[in-house]
């Protein structure tokens, strides 16, 4: 599965990068979401994959029985997912606001603040 997931991660990155290079604000955001999916999967994969061994101690036991999935990457990914949700919500509000003030879904028209 690692191999497959590695390919999937690469594909997600590629799609994300391609979308981010478009001129549309919406595509930019979609690209960002794809890239954050890719990053989450990357952490998950890099932490080691294991089937049917959720890191939940069985009732009455004192510790996880081996083998078990590494709980730490899961916690990290969970945190990362929630953070990117918060950031995404803000970004969406911002992008919509910009869209309303510019009237077009085109990043190329937002150049007034550079030199």
């Amino acid at each position: 599965m690692t191999v497959l997931l590695a390919v999937a991660i690469g594909a997600l990155y590629a799609c994300g990068i391609y979308l981010m290079l478009r001129r549309s604000l919406v595509k930019l955001l979609l690209g960002l979401v794809l890239i954050s999916h890719a990053a989450n999967l990357l952490i998950f994969t890099a932490g080691g994959l294991r089937r049917g061994a959720a890191p939940i101690v069985r009732a009455g036991e004192e510790a996880l029985t081996r083998p078990h999935a590494d709980p730490l990457p899961q916690a990290l990914v969970l945190t990362a997912i929630v953070i990117s949700f918060g950031v995404l919500a803000f970004a969406l509000a911002l992008f919509r606001r910009v869209h309303q003030s510019i009237g077009a879904d085109d990043v190329d028209r937002m150049r007034s603040t550079d030199t």
Binding site: V3, M20, L34, L49, S112, T113
Partner: protein
């Protein structure tokens, strides 16, 4: 001696309030400061046989002290700085009568004086550099004093950039010098001359140090800033450009002559640039008619002569070097005295008549008798009439060049440069006062009368000192021998006399004066002749300065337009390309044959549902890219998220899966809410752009895949942390869901930060939404 230097800065702080309270007396009162400092220094100097030295630790960690040492060379310069400084302060006080900027002028002059004093007294390379830069900054403020004029601002900037650029070279130079010599103390450098010479850094040091000296002392090709700096008020020009700041370069060259002087590069750079400067500037002075510009070019020429003389005073040279060392001192002293006087006289003339053009000023001896006295004495001193100090200066310079080589470049340069300087002396110091008043063309001169006391007393005093020292040069014996010794790096005995007997030098001297007179008599035809040369100025170094500045700015503009284009996707493209380049290069370097193959070999252990999931994920991702309808794209995005959460389900992460599903739902809702009114996507980019972006995207994705594949096989295999979690979640965390225990206990700090992010996102959304409604309400 720190006290003496600091006094000037402290006095500067009080200058402005003083000028407000006692406007008339501020100049004379503040003039007491340099005189007091001078008295204190003289007391120290006269009181000890060996040069007194004081040192205060400043930055002990880097070996930097505020060390000062008062030897002959330092004392001579201190004498000029304080003595002429006092005169200038009195003069400036009167010059700015009724001007509310008087306080600022006096304060800046005092700060400049103190900085200059610091330069010549410092016995630590860094301390010297600190004061050196301070002179640049204070002179920037002084040159740009009339800052409402664009000309002044430009001249100030030019001076600052040229001397500042040299200053940076000097900084590198002194650091390398200290590194090569193993000491920061200037007085200890001479003892390390051999070590320095053996160092591979010697040539860079010489180049860098001389870059500092030459820019500061306005040597060709850096000379142009000095004439332009004449935009400053007269007291400033008189002080900065005759006696002090421009001499700082000469001072430093002289100071380091014993330690760097043995090298041929040093010697020939000094002689060559000095000679070139002297001749060029002297020739250019012939073209000038404005009083201050005449003086400016002659100053540049004299600085050239001084630099050349330092070059002749090689530390291991013979008698000719000794003569040159003495000539440095005498010429320096004489030049400072007569040039400062002439500048002040020029300022008085302009103040009295409103005229700047030397051709229009005639017959003022009755109207301005005291200025006349000062002018004539100083002018004739510059011409080199015996019994004035200027004669001794010029005579000794000729002697030094003659002794070195009767037909050498130094001699040649002197012979060529001296006659035009005679002309300048006559035109500024003598000509305006002679002739009949009937010849006065302009009205201003008709009603001219003597300037106020404060403006004549100083010039007269300086001119008289020149006369006294010219008549009784033996007064200078001690200071000349000690100063020359410092320049030469070996003891020098000076026995000065009014008349050294009739010899070839005297003959040359006479010839030079006659040549000067001839130049003056035929000035109209020479003027016509040199006009043609003036066209060459278009190709001069000032043009180079302008080109360098404009070129840099043009390059900056192009670079900025290229980089900071405003197109976000270009920024992202550069970011991705840079990342791909550096990460890719490292990955290629890390590549081992077979590694990827081995990683790929694992593909046999794959479940069918895995394949299905991954295919779903990739197809959905491609659909997001490909879709023309926004809603479809968002739904496809949701499908990607769903596939991801299924991966979490399959691979033992129930919490993650739940979170992902919920978040994905909310994300889709958010997208739908945000994009309700938006139309379909349009293809905005050309085909070429899309292909290019596709290549970048595939490269980026491929890189990440490779990285994951390679990294998945490099594992230390002892996850201490995760083992700890597995073991301690129940006993100490009181929870069986290890992931949740990590989130709320083991690593609760992460979660704390995370909910802070959420809270701020909420605030941000509200601010954006409400802010808009507020805006619309106002409309």
């Amino acid at each position: 001696m720190l006290g003496e230097v600091l006094t000037g800065f402290v006095a500067a702080a009080f200058a402005a309030p003083l000028a407000r309270r006692l406007p008339r007396l501020a100049g004379p009162i503040l003039a007491l400061v340099p005189l007091g400092i001078l008295a204190a220094l003289t007391w120290r100097y006269a009181g000890s046989a060996a040069p007194p030295r004081t040192s205060v630790a400043w930055l002990p960690g880097l070996g930097i002290d505020l060390a000062f040492r008062l030897d002959g060379l330092a004392y001579l310069f201190a004498l000029l700085i304080c003595g002429i400084g006092a005169v200038i302060l009195v003069y400036a006080g009167a010059y700015f009568a009724g001007d509310r900027r008087r306080g600022r002028m006096l304060a800046t002059l005092l700060a400049f004086m103190a900085s200059m004093l610091g330069v010549v007294l410092a016995d630590h390379l860094v301390a010297l550099f600190v004061f050196w830069e301070l002179t640049s900054v204070t002179s920037y403020l002084l040159i740009g004093f009339d800052h409402e004029q664009e000309k002044s601002r430009k001249a100030a900037l030019q001076a600052l950039l040229v001397t500042g650029g040299g200053g940076l070279a000097l900084l590198a130079g002194v650091v390398l010098l200290a590194q090569a010599a193993g000491t920061w103390d200037i007085s200890a450098l001479a003892g390390q001359a051999q070590t320095i010479r053996a160092s591979p850094l010697q040539l860079p040091i010489i180049v860098l140090v001389l870059a500092g000296c030459f820019t500061k002392s306005a040597q060709v090709p850096f000379h142009f800033w000095l004439p332009n700096a004449m935009a400053a008020p007269t007291p400033v020009s008189a002080y900065l450009h005759s006696a002090t700041m421009v001499k700082a370069g000469v001072y430093l060259a002289a100071r380091l002559n014993p330690s760097l002087g043995g090298a041929a590069a040093w010697e020939w750079a000094l002689i060559g640039f000095g000679a070139l400067t002297a001749v060029t500037a002297a020739a250019m002075s012939l073209r000038q008619h404005e009083l201050k510009r005449l003086l400016a070019y002659s100053t540049v020429a004299s600085l050239g002569v001084l630099i050349m003389l330092v070059g002749l005073a090689a530390p291991e040279g013979g008698a000719d070097a000794v003569t040159a060392a003495k000539a440095v001192v005498l010429f320096l002293l004489a030049h400072a005295l007569y040039k400062a006087t002439l500048f002040l006289v020029a300022g008085s003339l302009t103040r009295a008549t409103g005229l700047k053009d030397a051709r229009l000023l005639v017959g003022l001896r009755r109207a301005m008798p005291l200025t006349f006295v000062a002018g004539v004495l100083a002018g004739l001193s510059m011409v080199g009439v015996p019994a004035l100090l200027g004669y001794l200066g010029k005579e000794s310079a000729i002697a030094a060049a003659w002794e070195r080589h009767a037909a050498g470049p130094a001699m040649l340069a002197l012979v060529l440069a001296a006659p035009p300087l005679v002309v300048v002396g006559l035109r500024v110091g003598v000509a305006p006062f002679l002739g009949s008043r009937r010849a006065v063309v302009a009205d201003g001169a008709g009603t001219a009368h003597e300037v106020p006391t404060g403006m004549w007393v100083g010039p007269v005093a300086l001119a008289v000192i020149g006369l006294v020292l010219g008549l009784a040069p033996m007064l200078l014996n001690r200071v000349v021998s000690e100063t020359a010794a410092a320049v030469h790096g070996a003891p020098v005995a000076a026995r000065l006399a009014l008349w050294h007997g009739f010899n070839a030098v005297v003959l040359l001297d006479v010839a030079i004066v006659l040549g000067g007179v001839a130049l003056w008599l035929w000035r109209s035809s020479i003027d016509r002749w040199t006009r043609r040369l003036a066209r060459l100025a278009a190709f001069g170094p000032e043009r180079g300065y302008a080109l360098a500045l404009e070129g840099t700015l043009a390059f900056g503009r192009v670079q900025t337009r290229l980089l900071q284009s405003g197109y976000l996707r270009r920024y992202l493209l550069v970011v991705f390309l840079f990342a791909i380049a550096v990460v890719g290069a490292a990955l290629v370097a890390a590549h081992r044959p077979g590694a990827i193959g081995a990683a790929l070999g694992e593909i046999v252990h794959v479940h069918a549902e895995d394949v299905l999931l991954v295919v779903m994920m990739v197809v959905a991702a491609v659909a997001v890219v490909h879709s023309r309808s926004r809603v479809a794209a968002v739904i496809a995005l949701g499908a990607v998220g769903l596939a991801v959460s299924l991966v979490f389900v399959l691979y033992s992460a129930p919490d993650l899966a739940l979170t992902q599903v919920l978040i994905e739902t909310l994300t889709v809702i958010l997208f739908v809410l945000a994009m309700r009114q938006l139309p379909f996507f349009v293809d905005l980019s050309s085909r070429r752009t899309r292909v290019r972006d596709l290549v970048v995207a595939v490269l980026g994705g491929g890189l990440m895949t490779t990285l994951v594949l390679l990294a998945s096989h490099v594992q230390l295999g002892d996850e201490v942390a995760s083992a700890y979690f597995a073991a301690e979640a129940v006993p100490q965390g009181h929870g069986r869901n290890v992931v949740n225990v990590i989130l709320v206990d083991f690593r609760a700090l992460d979660t704390l930060g995370e909910i802070t992010v959420l809270a701020l996102a909420a605030i941000g959304v509200i601010a954006l939404v409400r802010g808009r409604t507020g805006l619309e309400a106002r409309r």
